[in-house]
């Protein structure tokens, strides 16, 4: 068996807690062709260039892997197609459809153009939820910062925004978890265990899709509160969104609207507990939470890479030609640690100047929910820092979730002395 590339090693589950040494290796070849014909881009400037290059498609249907692809390649593509069997949503489509759909969703997520206040108006409610979660920790000496803190906030908020009943959370939580476990881009993808999970993952996505289609159907008949109902009934200037596309976007918004935020809150707690100086600084100067969250986004990016892009034409970049049809993986997590862009990239600096990280990507696929994520994480992390007394990590590194793209700890156990008012 050929030696594994740095990229393949970075993807191994054993390296989930710390893929960064492999990223350092990877960046020695900014645009690195993998045995399966995928081009992995790991340096900041090259990622940025491709994010703005109109010869790059985000539409998974346009991937045409080269003929030289290794045996594993078909399997992986199969996995992508099977797990993401849906109609295109705004992260897997190109202009002009992407632009039209994103405009429509933006209007309902943020509010109309002349009063885009819907998200910032959520601040009091987010504060209430965070306060409630911290109150619950009173009297405990050990907490799980994931299950008891990072997870409940975003899932509650996004469900409410969309109009997805919170009673259904146990279902969709399980579907998402199963689907995420099945999506593997690394050398372990062919293992019997992942293959088994792939089958479950497919079923979960189907169930999730059926659930969402039924919910949207209900809203079509009986309008309700929340964004989904509003979109169903929006004939818009540019026409109504088809049901399939709406279902696909609704799944994306519900899933991406909390999973990434969960990981960011969890990573923020973990990272601050690993950096007592930064934690102390944030305690003394709470206003640093604003640049601080940007640094945490850079330091532990919630989306490590994205996998649906491909070259529509031959693209020359960094001395390499990416042939037409080749899949392109842009590794945000590596670009954010690129020493050619960020001084001392492996150091946490809550006041880092000129911190234009890739944690929310850039270009037209820039994170749709970034303002919501910022608001949630700023409030959650600053309140955690303010109220939780003497927090100590129980295990370092903590156990990680399987998924490589949506990288985050499964649990972050923390011993605490109490919770202030």
């Amino acid at each position: 068996m050929a030696e594994e590339t740095p990229w393949q090693q970075a993807l191994r589950y054993a390296n989930r807690a710390n893929p960064y040494p492999f990223y350092t290796e990877l960046r020695k070849t900014p645009v690195a062709r993998q045995p399966d014909g995928t081009y992995v881009v790991s340096t900041y400037r090259e990622i940025l260039a491709l994010l703005h290059d109109p010869r790059v498609s985000s539409d998974v249907r346009r991937i045409r892997p080269g003929g030289s692809a290794a045996a594993g390649a078909d399997q992986d593509d199969e996995a992508i197609k099977e797990v993401i069997s849906l109609e295109p949503n705004i992260i897997t489509s190109d202009p002009p459809e992407h632009d039209r759909d994103r405009r429509l969703l933006t209007r309902h997520f943020y509010g109309p153009q002349d009063s885009p206040h819907r998200i910032c108006d959520l601040e009091p409610e987010i504060r209430r939820i965070v306060a409630g979660l911290l109150d619950e920790m009173r009297g405990k000496t050990r907490i799980d910062a994931v299950d008891e803190f990072a997870y409940p906030l975003p899932v509650t908020v996004i469900s409410k925004i969309l109009g997805v009943p919170l009673e259904d959370e146990p279902h969709f939580h399980a579907w998402i978890e199963t689907a995420l476990n099945a999506l593997d881009f690394g050398p372990e993808a062919g293992s019997p265990e992942i293959q088994r999970q792939l089958e479950q993952g497919r079923r979960s996505v189907e169930d999730f899709e059926k659930f969402m289609a039924a919910l949207i159907e209900r809203y079509a008949e009986q309008p309700g509160t929340g964004m989904l109902s509003a979109v169903v009934h929006d004939d818009g200037r540019e026409g109504r969104m088809s049901e399939g596309v709406l279902v696909s976007n609704a799944l994306l918004l519900l899933f991406a609207g909390h999973e990434t935020t969960v990981n960011l809150i969890a990573h923020s707690v973990l990272t601050l507990l690993r950096h007592p100086d930064a934690l102390e600084k944030l305690r003394r100067r709470p206003e640093l939470i604003v640049p601080g969250v940007e640094e945490l986004l850079r330091f532990e990016s919630s989306v490590q890479f994205w996998h649906t892009r491909s070259a529509v034409e031959d693209i020359e970049i960094a001395g390499t030609t990416i042939p037409k049809g080749s899949p392109i993986f842009l590794v945000y997590g590596s670009g954010n640690r690129d020493p050619d862009r960020f001084d001392n990239p492996d150091e946490l600096d809550l006041e880092r100047p000129d911190n234009q990280h890739l944690g929310f990507s850039q270009g037209i696929h820039y994170c749709f929910g970034a303002p919501l994520a910022r608001l949630e994480v700023q409030i959650a992390v600053s309140e955690f820092v303010r109220r939780v007394e003497n927090p100590r990590l129980v295990a370092d590194p903590p156990p990680y979730r399987h998924n490589q793209i949506f990288r985050g700890p499964r649990h972050v156990l923390v011993d605490i002395d109490g919770v202030r008012d």
Partner: protein
């Protein structure tokens, strides 16, 4: 002591004890002052501005302020550091004596300097007939006070606004009028709006956009005169096509004039074109020799640009003020080989009629244009400008996120037309003439004459202007 050690000591001493004067208290002046402090300059720092206000941001004046979203006095620029500067606001600089290194102020005071930054910017060209310009209801738009006055006039619900000149300011104001449901006529001498900046092809799109929003757009006509009522308030305008427009608010948006009069006699390469300087911001004297003590930044600066055949360009854009000021400030407290060049790819933006217009490069440098992405019909597109087979600029309508791609192509002098995108291609992707007007014949060019014969006597002089 070695020479380099001596020079290093010089720089240290200057940073500790030097005197720097910044003339111009707007965006460029402020950012230059902040950079000076950031570079460790601890000497005395004086900032002179003719307006009584602390530095404020101008782009919102023709947009959010006029619309009534933001009061004119809520446009103050954010401060990035403590300046510990001597602010001389509300008093204009009226002269520069390079021999004694002093700036003369309107109140008669003389401010001495070791290094001077000229950041006096531009002002709005006024309606040329002073009596008509003095009528109530006749406005120009450049300063905070201008914006506050025009905002008040729009809020009073005029029966019709006449905008003279359809450049960016004129077009933005017309757009605001329509937002506020105020009838508006735009009179433009050229064939379409924005033609000088973006050419006739884009101008035609801008014209259609204005008409779709209910602007009474009249191109190819000039305004001959303005007439007032007995109370001295403007009532109507006579146009060169023989028609008359009844309007009680008139905006003269006739472009800008560079604030260089105060430099008369200073022996600098200063004139209607601005203040000539090298790409490091060092001002040229009248002979075209770089000075070591006087620097220029912002709208008033004119420097050779490597990407545009080293032609001298004045870039009257927001980011040029910021980055040009940072480079000039750095160089003011540095010596060779530590000078920075100001190698900005120019760029600007505008918001009008619900469309975000952005551009990079120098569109008028191009002679061809090709639509690259999107749809002209929907007014969402990216277009590239080319010259001699190279891409030199790009413009986007509601497609700003793609501009960075074109900026990289321009920086690399990539071929024109660029390779087509992978999706969302316009129906027609053929380069066509961009239709820029011929450069106009400049007015009031000061004649330069050469005198002297020996190298140490050979000099340029401005021939005295007739007044």
């Amino acid at each position: 002591m070695t020479l380099s050690a001596t020079l290093a000591e010089l720089v240290r001493d200057f940073k500790a004890n030097g005197r720097i004067v910044v003339v111009g208290a707007s965006l460029a002046g402020l950012r230059a002052a902040e950079t000076l402090r950031g570079e460790g300059f601890a000497g005395s720092l004086t900032i002179i501005g003719d307006e009584p206000y602390e530095p404020y941001d101008r782009p919102p004046l023709s947009k959010q302020v006029l619309k009534g979203w933001v009061p004119a006095d809520h446009t103050q620029l954010p401060r990035f550091r403590e300046l510990d500067a001597d602010w001389r606001l509300g008093v204009a600089a009226t002269g520069l004596d390079r021999a004694t290194r002093q700036v003369r102020l309107a109140d008669g005071e003389q401010v001495p300097f070791d290094r001077l930054l000229i950041a006096t910017g531009t002002r709005a060209r006024q309606w040329p007939n002073p009596a008509e310009a003095a009528l109530d209801g006749v406005f120009s738009l450049r300063s905070r006070d201008d914006a506050a006055r025009l905002r008040q006039a729009l809020a009073d619900g005029p029966s019709r606004v006449l905008v003279i000149g359809a450049g960016f300011i004129g077009s933005e104001v017309a757009s605001i009028c329509r937002d506020l449901d105020i009838p508006v006529t735009v009179a433009e001498r050229g064939p379409a709006p924005l033609v000088g900046a973006l050419g006739g092809v884009i101008g035609e799109i801008a014209a259609q956009m204005q008409r779709d929003h209910g602007v009474d757009l009249r191109c190819g006509v000039g305004v001959l005169s303005l007439e007032g009522d007995a109370g001295g308030h403007v009532r109507r305008a006579r146009l060169s096509d023989g028609t008359t427009i009844e309007a009680d608010v008139v905006l003269a948006s006739l472009g800008s004039i560079r604030n260089v009069e105060w430099l008369e006699g200073a022996g600098l390469a200063a004139g209607f074109w601005g203040v000539g300087c090298d790409a490091g911001g060092r001002a040229f004297d009248i002979n075209g020799v770089a000075t070591d003590t006087i620097y220029v930044a912002g709208d008033v600066a004119r420097a050779p640009h490597v990407l545009y055949e080293y032609q001298f360009l004045a870039m009257e854009h927001w980011d040029n003020a910021v980055f040009g000021a940072e480079v000039a400030a750095h160089n003011m407290v540095s010596l060779e080989p530590d000078y920075y060049p100001h190698l900005l790819l120019p760029g600007f933006w505008s918001g009008q009629f619900g469309v975000n217009i952005k551009s990079v490069g120098v569109p008028p440098f191009g002679d061809e244009i090709v639509f690259m992405q999107g749809s002209v019909e929907e007014r969402r597109f990216a277009a590239a400008y080319g010259r001699n087979g190279r891409i030199v600029a790009a413009v986007t309508f509601d497609h700003g996120k793609w501009l960075e791609y074109y900026a990289r192509l321009i920086e690399q002098s990539a071929p024109f037309p660029p390779p087509p995108p992978g999706w969302d291609r316009p129906d027609v992707m053929m380069p066509i003439p961009a239709q820029f007007p011929e450069p106009g014949v400049p007015t009031a060019v000061p004649d330069v004459v050469l005198t002297g014969h020996d190298p140490n006597e050979r000099r340029a002089e401005f021939r005295p202007r007739s007044r």
